[in-house]
């Protein structure tokens, strides 16, 4: 009995503490602090991964963070996040902005604000070569993806009979595919292509042309943080105009990169 009472006391104390989650204006907070903290992926080339030579996190997402931090005149700090942890991290104030391959969708937009689309891709599958011709080949099989991602939700809808196995991040799902533990890894094409390109045995895998959704990426910011959101959007549009956005794209996806892909989008203001 004594334990039950104590338990209630503890819960009550926690309630009081949790009642308040703070959110001041990020623009001013960041300026005052002199640094902007970005939540990024650390295992998702080419968006965010650890460069083996410098041992630092680099990638497309990090370059956008750096550009925005530079415009703000502050230092950039990056923090590794996962698909499942990025939004709670932002809402709870541990990071100022999410730049972690995050798809914009209506459900998320209820919780946080998105910038204009800064990258566009679609959800596909990475499979062992020759095993998959159409979506039907995958229904009923085990499919690997990452926890808390739109990929997970889309896959559940597209393949109702499959078991969706969610890992902390995509490379673990790819590792499971390498070892035959899942029949496919599903997520955004660029992430798949990035994983594929870095694999030492890439000839054994392919990405068949089966797309189950469009995935526009946005930078995530706290809800109602208008000054900061406007600033970020303004910066994105300027980067497009000055050609800096395209330069970043070419660095990671241009003809000379590991992962050549045509740029099928431009950064424009959302309607």
């Amino acid at each position: 009995m004594k334990n039950v009472v104590g338990l209630l006391i503890c819960m009550l104390a926690m309630l009081l503490v949790a009642g308040t989650v703070f959110a001041a204006d990020t623009y001013d907070t960041v300026k005052n602090r002199g640094s902007m903290i970005c939540g990024v992926k650390d295992s998702t080339p080419p968006f965010g991964y650890v460069d083996p030579k410098t041992r630092q996190i680099v990638g497309y997402d990090i370059d956008f963070c750096a550009a925005i931090a530079k415009k703000l005149g502050v230092k950039l700090e990056v923090k590794p996040v996962t698909s499942a942890s990025r939004m709670p991290q932002l809402i709870e104030g541990n990071i100022d902005m999410i730049a972690a391959t995050m798809t914009k969708n209506a459900e998320r937009a209820k919780q946080i604000d998105f910038s204009h689309t800064y990258f566009l891709t679609g959800q596909k599958f990475l499979v062992k070569k020759g095993t998959v011709k159409s979506l039907q080949d995958l229904d009923g099989k085990k499919i690997g993806t990452a926890k808390g991602s739109t990929s997970e939700q889309n896959a559940k809808k597209a393949l109702p009979k499959s078991t969706i196995l969610s890992f902390d991040d995509y490379p673990q799902a790819f590792l499971a595919l390498q070892q035959g533990k899942v029949a496919a890894v599903t997520t955004d094409e660029t992430i798949l292509a990035g994983l594929h390109a870095k694999a030492p045995n890439k000839a054994q895998f392919e990405i068949p042309n089966i797309q189950i959704s469009d995935e526009p990426y946005g930078l995530g910011m706290r809800k109602g943080d208008k000054k900061f959101v406007d600033f970020v959007n303004q910066t994105l549009l300027e980067m497009e105009k000055s050609g800096e956005a395209k330069k970043i794209y070419d660095k990671w996806f241009g003809p000379k990169s590991d992962l050549p892909m045509p740029r099928v989008f431009r950064i424009v203001a959302d309607k």
């Binding site: 338990l7 009642g19 650390d42 080339p45 650890v50 083996p52 041992r55 902390d168 991040d169 030492p200």
Partner: protein
């Protein structure tokens, strides 16, 4: 996939395993693992001491509240404690707190609950007669605790404390889940990049953890023998 183990991946990334992105970036790897364990051990020693003393308090409210807290924390998986801290610690401090600090808070809270049981057992192992004797010689109750009971009790507790430290070293691996770049996180990053060496990487870090923990396990055994020997004379 080829057969046979190839540990080149380990030697190529040895520096990353050791210190993470340091000095250009944040500290990581084995050094961070040790740092997390040492700092959390320091806090949980004091936390455990306070909770343990509250547990043997004569005041019912203090005793029950601390007892309930200890039982509550011990009923929860460490992973849950970490998630809770993630959720609550920033609210508590009124400002964002880095995940390294959050994990230290979680590890300290969790281990304090276990340490308090060691402290309680240590205090209870001292014969009651000593308290009475000290009291009758005019010492106040807190003085009896600080000058008579605790010095003896704590000495007996040292081996158990060292064992808790070993548990802490192992528990720091859970910091991986919230993205703190300690040894396990660093290993998964390397694994996620190299793909075909999971066996080598996980054997390597298992051995590293084993060496760290085994040294302290042996140390605790040695202390236990020494203490037993000192008591016997």
């Amino acid at each position: 996939m080829e057969t046979g183990l190839d540990f080149t991946v380990v030697w190529d990334n040895l520096l990353y395993f050791m210190i993470g992105a340091y000095p250009e970036g944040p500290l990581g790897g084995i050094v961070l693992t040790i740092y997390l364990a040492v700092v959390s051990c320091f806090f949980s020693f004091w936390g455990g001491l306070i909770l343990g003393l509250m547990n043997v308090s004569r005041n019912k409210v203090i005793r029950y509240t601390s007892g309930a807290f200890v039982n509550f924390v011990r009923g929860m998986p460490l992973l849950m404690v970490i998630f809770w801290c993630y959720f609550l610690v920033p609210g508590f401090f009124g400002q964002p707190v880095g995940e390294t600090k959050t994990v230290i808070v979680a590890l300290s809270l969790f281990t304090s609950a276990y340490m308090s049981q060691i402290v309680k057992a240590g205090i209870e192992s001292i014969p009651k007669g000593q308290t009475e004797a000290a009291r009758s010689s005019g010492l106040k109750l807190w003085q009896v605790m600080v000058y008579v009971i605790l010095p003896q009790g704590l000495r007996n507790m040292i081996p158990s404390f060292v064992n808790q430290f070993v548990s802490l070293i192992k528990d720091t691996s859970l910091a991986f889940i919230v993205g703190v770049s300690e040894l396990t996180h660093v290993a998964t990053q390397i694994n996620n990049r190299s793909f075909i060496y999971p066996t080598e990487i996980f054997i390597f870090i298992a051995v590293i953890y084993f060496i760290l923990c085994y040294i302290f396990t042996e140390f605790s055994r040695w202390l236990e023998k020494r203490l037993a020997w000192r008591k016997s004379i």
